[in-house]
């Protein structure tokens, strides 16, 4: 059995991820592709660097797949996330979800990307024109206002 959830330092093949969820029972396959953007609120990115706690990240992606199965029965999910140096327009993440009916595939796909930003130990370092910084805030909001993560974030 090939892996459904993995971290890689090579370019991701969208087709490969989609193939992993393709099946006769599916009426829809939703594919989300996360790419490296050049401008963020006027600030210019030159390139990005992703780092992962690899074994844990793969475990957490798998857990995420199980969560999706529980919420949307008869769903099949595959996720690949790239690490290392990425250039503008490169693909950082590919999420493919297949479901019998299309509505669930949209919902599950959205859920997957939001959860990645909450629980999967992957970090992004922005290399801007005028400096660099690790982007460390859950869902790109403020980092833990109470000084430590909430209990429900740690599931």
């Amino acid at each position: 059995m090939s892996k459904q959830f993995w971290i890689t330092d090579h370019p991701i093949s969208i087709e490969e991820v989609v193939k992993l969820v393709s099946r006769r029972e599916a009426g829809a396959i939703n594919t989300f592709i996360g790419t490296v953007r050049e401008f963020t609120y006027g600030k210019r990115t030159l390139h990005l660097e992703y780092q992962a706690y690899r074994p844990m990240a793969e475990k957490k992606l798998e857990q995420l797949g199980q969560e999706i199965e529980e919420r949307w029965p008869d769903t099949k999910t595959a996720i690949a996330h790239r690490i290392g140096r990425l250039e503008i327009e490169d693909i950082a993440v590919v999420i493919a979800v297949s479901t019998p009916h299309r509505a669930d595939s949209y919902d599950a796909s959205r859920y997957a990307i939001e959860r990645i930003k909450e629980i999967v130990p992957i970090w992004k370092k922005e290399n801007w024109e005028d400096g660099e910084a690790w982007i460390g805030d859950q869902k790109e909001q403020k980092a833990y206002p109470e000084g430590s993560p909430k209990k429900e974030d740690m599931k």
Binding site: G34, Y50, Q51, A52, Y53, P55, M56, A57, K59, H81, A92, V93, I113, I116, K117, E118, I119, V120, P121, I122, W123, K124, K125, W134, I135, G136, D137, Q138, E140, A143, Y144, G147, S148, P149, K151, D153, M154, K155
Partner: protein
Amino acid sequence: MNRILFFAGLQEKVGQESLELDVTGKTVSEVKEYIGKQFQLDRLNEAMTAVNEEYADNQQKIGEGDVIAFIPPVSGG
């Protein structure tokens, strides 16, 4: 003996990816306090902690051989 892992900004501040240290019997919050002082990591509190690749709360006790990882706020995707 335990292995302690650092990532992202914490890794850069500490200057290494990991270190070997015996913290068996201590709680996660005690380990955080000790490491925070040792390496002057004033934002270590913002990091989650994983013990053996599972998120752990501050009260969890470290066992012999446990691998502890400090997980700064993540930003995958």
